[in-house]
């Protein structure tokens, strides 16, 4: 009994070490928050779209799984992920829709004219209300929504080739089949 008592510091150390091992791994971002919206219906939206008469509305998108990417012309990480989005749209025919978050329409249009437009349609969310309803706390954020309008996954920050390969594309494939 007494012996066991002396082992206590070791046990405490092991618990702490385990905790540090998990939370200090290089890929772990402490500022990345879990979304409260996962597995919940996407908040409905009906946005005027950029250079298009048809509004970007949630109800019109339902039926097939799709991806929504919140972006802005003032957002630097968005430019980092932009070439990847272009590749996804062209090679993988990703059903990608953009929402220009708190951005002037003219600026968004200039961005897409300069670097290319990976989106099938772009909604204008100038006051950020749709972003707020989604729980967006910084751009870029990317949401995968299934055919019934349920949010299945959120990516905070720029997408990388790795997350796309390992998470985004497999999830879309799975949603497309089910």
């Amino acid at each position: 009994m007494r012996r066991l008592f002396y082992l206590l510091p070791l046990v405490v150390f092991m618990v702490l070490a385990g905790y540090f091992l998990v939370s200090l791994r290089p890929a772990h971002d402490v500022h990345e928050l879990p979304s409260a919206m996962i597995e919940k219906p996407a908040p409905t939206f009906d946005l005027a779209s950029l250079g298009d008469d048809k509004p970007l509305a949630l109800d019109a998108l339902k039926g097939h799984p799709f991806v929504i990417n919140f972006f802005a012309s003032w957002c630097v990480p968005c430019r980092v992920e932009h070439p990847l989005l272009m590749r996804l749209a062209q090679q993988d025919h990703l059903p990608l829709y953009g929402i220009a978050y708190k951005d002037k329409p003219a600026d968004s249009a200039r961005l897409l004219a300069t670097f290319g437009d990976p989106y099938r349609q772009v909604g204008i969310d100038q006051d950020g209300r749709v972003g707020l309803n989604f729980g967006v706390y910084g751009v870029p954020e990317t949401y995968v929504i299934d055919g019934t309008g349920i949010i299945r996954k959120r990516f905070v920050g720029p997408l990388t080739a790795e997350t796309v390969e390992k998470e985004l594309l497999p999830l879309l494939k799975q949603l497309g089949q089910s």
Partner: protein, 154 residues
């Protein structure tokens, strides 16, 4: 250099003190007071250690406006708070709710203190038992002890 630093610091302090901008305020003082209370309990998700009431971040402004809109529309405090939590998760609450996921957070520190107290009490009790009622020395023992002491002195 140092003056610059001080200036920057003062500037930041003055900014954070006036995070709630005049144009955001509601005309009704009672409603505004409720909005202030709510926003001082919500975390700014950009800065993460400030409440949205103190934060100058753009998102904090949006959430402040959202809270005020909800209150004006007739929401109770709890409903307005819930509207934010359902969008951003329990992490936005600066004071986390007591629920199964947060039991460790809430109860582990008092439990550890209690454990320490119990340990201390047990330890103190054990220590006290020994000298309290030791039998007095017999005359024979006293003589031997005196003899030994004298030997040592000499």
């Amino acid at each position: 250099m140092r003056t610059w630093f001080l200036c920057a610091l003062l500037l930041m302090a003055s900014l954070s003190a006036h995070a709630v901008e005049p144009r955001e305020r509601l005309a009704d003082p009672a409603l505004e007071a409720r909005a202030r209370t709510i926003s001082s309990e919500l975390r700014c998700l950009v800065c993460q250690n400030e409440s949205i009431d103190e934060s100058g971040a753009d998102l904090a402004h949006d959430i402040r406006m959202f809270v005020r809109e909800r209150l004006t529309a007739g929401d109770t405090d709890a409903q307005a708070m819930q509207a934010i939590v359902s969008r951003y998760g329990a992490f936005v609450l600066l004071k986390p709710p007591v629920e199964r996921a947060t039991y460790v957070l809430w109860y582990a520190p008092p439990a550890l203190v209690l454990l320490g107290l119990i340990g201390t009490v047990i330890w103190l009790r054990r220590r006290q038992v020994v000298p309290a009622d030791a039998a007095p020395l017999s005359p024979e023992e006293t003589r031997r002890l005196d003899g030994l002491l004298r030997e040592n002195d000499g």
